[in-house]
Subunit: 112 residues, 2 copies
């Protein structure tokens, strides 16, 4: 089903929704970030990953400094419209450490 951007529930998270960034080709989860309505609008208009930084209190585009932009090929919305998935084609590493994904660590003792 197709959802309209006006249906996204930004209010629940104080103006922000969590965004799962996923590599569209490999399926790897790259980053967990946040978007406000303006970040989502820019993402839709530019097909680049835009977010809202909680620590810096400003909009930012993935790759604006590193050049490692992400082309957003699809946006998924969850059942209660309070979380998004950006499915992307990355032009370089997602993580500031240079790793392909921010989720490059495992939790010790994860198995029972």
């Amino acid at each position: 089903m197709e959802r309209d951007p006006s249906e996204i529930d930004f209010a629940k998270g104080g103006g922000l929704v969590p965004v799962v960034v996923q590599d569209a080709a490999s399926g790897r989860v790259l980053t967990l970030a946040y978007a406000n309505d303006e970040a989502l609008r820019r993402t839709r208009e530019t097909s680049r990953s835009w977010f809202y930084s909680r620590s810096r209190s400003r909009l930012w585009m993935k790759g604006e400094e590193s050049g490692n932009v992400q082309r957003v090929v699809e946006i998924l919305v969850d059942c209660d419209a309070d979380a998004l998935v950006y499915r992307v084609e990355p032009s370089g590493p997602a993580c500031h450490t240079g790793e392909e994904t921010c989720f490059h660590n495992t939790l010790g003792g994860a198995r029972a």
Copy 2:
């Protein structure tokens, strides 16, 4: 690299971290939920997906009512240790609607 559970930054999110639930076989993102330290402890101990419900203010296990439990085969931690991925083997639909994933909707006008 392996991270210790004590390194997870629950404080940043008021005691909660977002959890991306991903099907370990298909790579599909199933659900975005939240965990506190107790939910994470139970997940590690039982290899089942445990979360903290913000709306109901209580711990819950995926499948506790539906029977659609998720076996957690791996937990990933992001670079700043404030978000997790549960990689799971689901025994049934992740979504309360009966869909395989909560992210079964696309955002209209997602492409520029």
